[in-house]
């Protein structure tokens, strides 16, 4: 009975804050757009009864998503951008985590602090700061012009490159921390053992360090990939009109077009796409805890 009470609380929480809102979104996605407040119909009313209400729901909006190429292009483009940024974040994050794990004991808390420090400032402000850095007259262009590397300012802001920079910057800590945790636990004598058995430094890294930090790498990749896929703020602030991402499409459906049913359909499909990596992530975490 006590066990049931213990589980009941988090489940009630999930039910109230995730499942119920999600079901509402699903319901809206099955409705039709209407000029009313809220802007969709049918509205549920007790007079007509539940049967009549359900009869009016249909999958029209989902069919529409497959007909307009904008949506599947946005999904694909989001997947691609999320994938590439995950790889980039990994390539930058791994050496950072490795350096932190190899740093002397007294330096580690400071390095850890530096990784966490950006969270003390609002995410939005940090993205705005990047606008100031990347714009035509921004710090980066001014610096490059001053050093003489370039003679005309580069166009970075409002391109996909800026989106990559934004995502990599924002999600780097989520990549670094799990990898650092894995590398920190790595027993140094394993590397020595590998060298003792004939490995060069490099092959010891490939054969021991990388496989030993595998769980950290996988966790980091999911932690970057999952939020990056639905990212809205970064592409709309840094990416300009040229960058197509599903988060931005979703925003525009809701607030510019006021087409709540289609926007909800987009959200439901996005969630279905995200369920796959989330399940894989959960399984990885579970396997990691079993191995310990």
């Amino acid at each position: 009975m006590r066990r049931f009470a213990l589980i009941a609380l988090p489940y009630a929480w999930l039910l109230a804050l995730f499942l119920v809102p999600f079901l509402i979104v699903v319901k809206i996605s099955l409705s039709d757009v209407a000029l009313s407040i809220p802007p969709y119909s049918p509205q549920f009313s007790w007079d007509e009864g539940i049967g009549a209400f359900l009869a009016e729901l249909d999958f029209e909006n989902f069919v529409f998503l497959t007909q307009d190429s904008l949506y599947w292009k946005a999904y694909l483009s989001s997947l691609f951008i999320a994938l590439v940024s995950t790889v980039l974040t990994l390539m930058i994050g791994y050496p950072v985590a490795y350096g932190m794990a190899r740093a002397s004991e007294e330096w580690r808390p400071t390095l850890m602090m530096l990784i966490i420090l950006p969270f003390w400032t609002s995410f939005l402000i940090r993205v705005y700061a990047w606008m100031g850095i990347l714009s035509q007259e921004g710090f980066l262009n001014q610096f490059l012009l001053w050093t003489g590397i370039i003679s005309t300012p580069l166009t970075i802001l409002n391109t996909t490159t800026a989106v990559y920079i934004g995502i990599v910057y924002t999600y780097l800590p989520f990549m670094v921390l799990p990898i650092y945790a894995a590398l920190d636990r790595l027993d140094g004598s394993l590397i020595e053992a590998a060298e003792d058995l004939g490995c060069s430094r490099l092959s010891a890294f490939w054969l021991v360090t990388i496989p030993m930090s595998r769980n950290g790498i996988i966790a980091g990749c999911f932690l970057v990939f999952i939020p990056a896929l639905g990212e809205f703020v970064i592409p709309s602030l840094l990416g300009g009109s040229g960058t197509l991402m599903i988060g931005k499409v979703l925003w525009e459906e809701f607030f510019s077009n006021r087409d709540w049913p289609v926007a909800s359909a987009v959200a439901v499909v996005l969630l279905l796409i995200l369920i796959i990596p989330i399940v894989l992530f959960q399984r990885n975490q579970q396997r990691a805890s079993e191995a310990d």
Binding site: L190, A193, E195, D196, G198, V208, A291
Partner: protein, 375 residues
């Protein structure tokens, strides 16, 4: 000494396999190894013994190539190995933590070194199987390290380090993580394997019993220096200093002043109102020189009556008895407060023990039973 006894260190013609030449190792201002020279011969089972921080692990890590000496030279088969990196040395190490790769199976762990040599699959499979059989691990080949017991892990570590057939195998506290019973069995297993493979073993340990059991020679170290290098029996019977005598086993140390009696015979005046002790030694002592008498408890006889014709004889009262099952150690307090330990085998049942607390007893030993030491 007959010719079949293995003692290459006594043969000046023998070339040592390992030669430390005036090796010094400093970590900052701390001197871990202090101008040390040592020869180790082929097929030896050599033990480096000492308290923690004495430099024994540093010696081993220098042999493996993980540390380089600050000065001096280390030779392996006549070649200076100081500039050779660890992965190019014909030396393998068994780590204290075993350092098994947790993401690989037992089979893959043992094959790890062989694969790095680029051997073909068949050779590797044969060699791994051979190692599995040697260490009786055939049944566990497919398991991961966390799925086997500590004793089995220890054997995997041994098999892995032996797989490449190294010229020299280093063992860093190999049995430290095992419980006492398993440790004893494993000691004999190690000796068996060492004999079967003919590999030179260098073992680092702080457990003197372990060193005595397995080693052909033992080096007792303290503060980066070698205190004594000799066979286990010599170390035990004829330690060269109070430090070595005290480090190995149980011992009574009696401080006194030497008095020359005749060639090889000395008297030691050691306490007011006590009869001088009589000792035989081949070393030379000056009259009145401070000296120490080291005598093992089991070499002291304990009797109720004064024994006749004993070289040394003192009377005291039993202060304490340590019952060890097979042995009993009596702590006998002399009238001047000195405690002397005497040990006897419990050949009779405990109910019929001859002495008990507060009994007046006589302790006696011969002139050759103890060792007279200058320091």
């Amino acid at each position: 000494m007959n010719s079949t006894v293995f003692a290459p260190w006594e043969d000046p013609e023998q070339k040592p396999l390992i030669r430390f030449q005036n090796v010094t190792k400093k970590f900052g201002s701390f001197t871990a190894i202090d101008n040390l020279s040592l020869d180790i011969y082929e097929r030896e089972f050599f033990a480096l013994l000492g308290p923690s921080g004495c430099g024994k692990t540093t010696m081993m890590r220098m042999l493996a190539g993980f540390e380089n000496p600050s000065s001096g030279q280390i030779e392996l088969s006549g070649r200076n190995i100081v500039p050779v990196p660890p992965n190019k040395r014909a030396v393998n190490m068994m780590f204290q933590s075993y350092a098994l790769f947790p993401h690989l199976t037992i089979w893959e762990n043992i094959a790890f070194g062989l694969k790095r040599e680029g051997k073909d699959k068949e050779t590797i499979a044969t060699r791994v199987h051979e190692m599995l059989r040697l260490t009786r691990l055939e049944r566990f080949a497919k398991r991961k390290p966390h799925q086997i017991s500590g004793g089995q892990r220890q054997r995997v570590a041994l098999a892995r380090s032996l797989a490449k057939a190294p010229t020299l195998l280093l063992l860093d506290e190999p049995l430290g993580a095992l419980d006492a019973k398993l440790r004893q069995d494993t000691q004999f297993e190690l000796m068996d394997i060492q004999e079967k493979t003919g590999t030179t073993f260098v073992i680092v340990t702080h457990d003197q019993e372990e060193a005595m059991t397995v080693a052909s020679r033992v080096a007792v170290m303290d503060e980066g220096k070698l205190m004594q290098v000799a066979t286990p029996d010599r170390i035990y019977e004829t330690p060269n200093s109070v430090y070595v005598a005290d480090f190995i086993g149980d011992v009574n140390i009696i401080e006194g002043r030497s008095r020359f009696l005749e060639e090889g015979q000395y008297e030691i005046d050691w306490a007011e109102g006590q009869q001088a002790l009589h000792a035989a030694t081949s070393a030379k002592f000056d009259n009145g020189q401070t000296c120490y008498m080291a005598i093992r408890p089991e070499k002291i006889t304990i009797t109720a009556d004064r024994p006749e014709a004993a070289d040394n004889c003192v009377q005291g009262k039993i202060h304490d008895i340590a019952y060890l099952g097979n042995l009993s150690t009596y702590h006998v307090e002399l009238p001047n407060g000195t405690i002397i330990k005497a040990q006897t085998a419990n050949t009779r049942r405990i109910a019929r023990r001859s002495f008990t607390w507060e009994d007046q007893v006589w302790l006696s030993w011969t002139a050759t039973a103890g060792v007279m030491l200058a320091r």
